[in-house]
């Protein structure tokens, strides 16, 4: 972890993403929360890029920030619920427990104990100390050809998963049409 520009940028992005996530859950308007989440996704993509996972960075923006968040934004704009109808008042005990659990996990991961656990896990998978997955083990192409490496890994190691994804997408297509058609049969709204 040398103290160079990449590291500083990574830390700044990480902090910004964490803070913005906190900001997101305290927004009054759902659309504001969605916009903040888009910013968080973009920061995550930047962090992927700094970790040299270039394809993941591009895919994060194209698919997550550019497609999934569009669904979020559309749904919120379609429902158009004003904040008054959404407020339920206060944080419940269950939510307090969850938030403290999250903070606890973050602290643990940040300390030596957490780092030790992580590096142990990486070493057991075959990475030398200090190596990131971009530079390690059996890469099919040179380390800086990230897109080709991802593609090769997907088509050679994870071929079954790739084919099953197509069925997953098919199920999603059918499911979403069934849900949407049922809804629009129940209440006919004008466009």
């Amino acid at each position: 972890m040398q103290m160079d520009l990449n590291f500083i940028a990574f830390v700044v992005m990480g902090l910004a993403a964490t803070i913005l996530s906190g900001v997101m859950i305290t927004r009054r308007w759902p659309v504001s929360a969605a916009m903040v989440l888009i910013a968080v996704m973009t920061l995550l993509a930047g962090m992927f890029g700094l970790l040299e996972a270039h394809f993941a960075a591009a895919a994060q923006i194209i698919v997550y920030a550019g497609a999934i968040m569009v669904v979020f934004v559309f749904v919120m704009m379609l429902l158009n619920l004003p904040p008054e109808e959404l407020r339920y008042g206060g944080v419940t005990w269950g939510e307090m427990v969850l938030i403290s659990l999250g903070v606890l996990v973050a602290i643990v991961l940040g300390t030596q104990v957490g780092q030790g656990l992580l590096t142990q896990g990486l070493e057991s998978m075959g990475y030398a100390p200090g190596q990131t997955p971009a530079h390690a083990k059996s890469l099919y192409f040179a380390a800086d050809e990230n897109v080709k490496n991802v593609a090769a890994t997907m088509f050679v190691d994870y071929l079954w998963a790739f084919e099953l994804v197509s069925f997953l997408i098919l199920a999603a297509v059918i499911g979403s049409i069934v849900i949407a058609k049922k809804r629009s049969a129940e209440n006919a709204n004008a466009a």
């Binding site: 520009l5 990449n6 940028a9 930047g46 890029g49 700094l50 394809f55 960075a57 895919a59 194209i62 698919v63 550019g66 497609a67 999934i68 569009v70 669904v71 559309f74 749904v75 704009m77 379609l78 429902l79 158009n80 004003p82 897109v147 080709k148 991802v150 593609a151 090769a152 997907m154 088509f155 071929l159 790739f162 084919e163 994804v165 197509s166 069925f167 997408i169 098919l170 999603a172 297509v173 059918i174 979403s176 049409i177 949407a180 058609k181 809804r183 629009s184 709204n189 004008a190 466009a191």
Partner: protein, 121 residues
């Protein structure tokens, strides 16, 4: 010797510069323009007639369906791009595997067409 900085750094620079330009234009307009607020000017525009109802109404579910189908086909496109970069290495095996992938999705697409999910009227 070639230059080598992190390739994402220019994006950051461009973003900051773009923000300065756009923000500067907005600020300049804010500073240079007259300020004469007038209730009629600031009211909702509805072709000059008084407003009927609020803008917060429920709209068609077709937008939602379009967006969901967009996600699914976008994911498909991303996977196809992964195949395309390795076209020569994967040779016919790759073409057949991707053909199966696309075939399954074509079944889904035909379902969409038959169900009329994309009929926007």
């Amino acid at each position: 010797m070639t230059a080598s900085i992190n390739p994402y750094f220019p994006i950051l620079i461009a973003f900051v510069l773009g923000l300065l330009i756009a923000g500067g234009a907005t600020a300049a307009s804010f500073l240079l323009g007259p300020k004469k607020p007038n209730p009629a000017k600031l009211d909702v525009y509805e072709c000059g007639v008084p407003v009927v109802g609020t803008a917060r109404q429920r709209l068609s579910v077709k937008f939602y369906l379009t967006a969901i189908l967009f996600i699914l086909f976008d994911i498909e496109t991303v996977f196809l791009y992964l195949w395309a970069v390795l076209f020569d290495e994967l040779r016919w095996f790759g073409i057949i595997e991707v053909g199966l992938f696309v075939g399954t999705l074509v079944v889904g697409y035909i379902y969409i067409l038959r169900r009329g999910a994309l009929n926007w009227d």
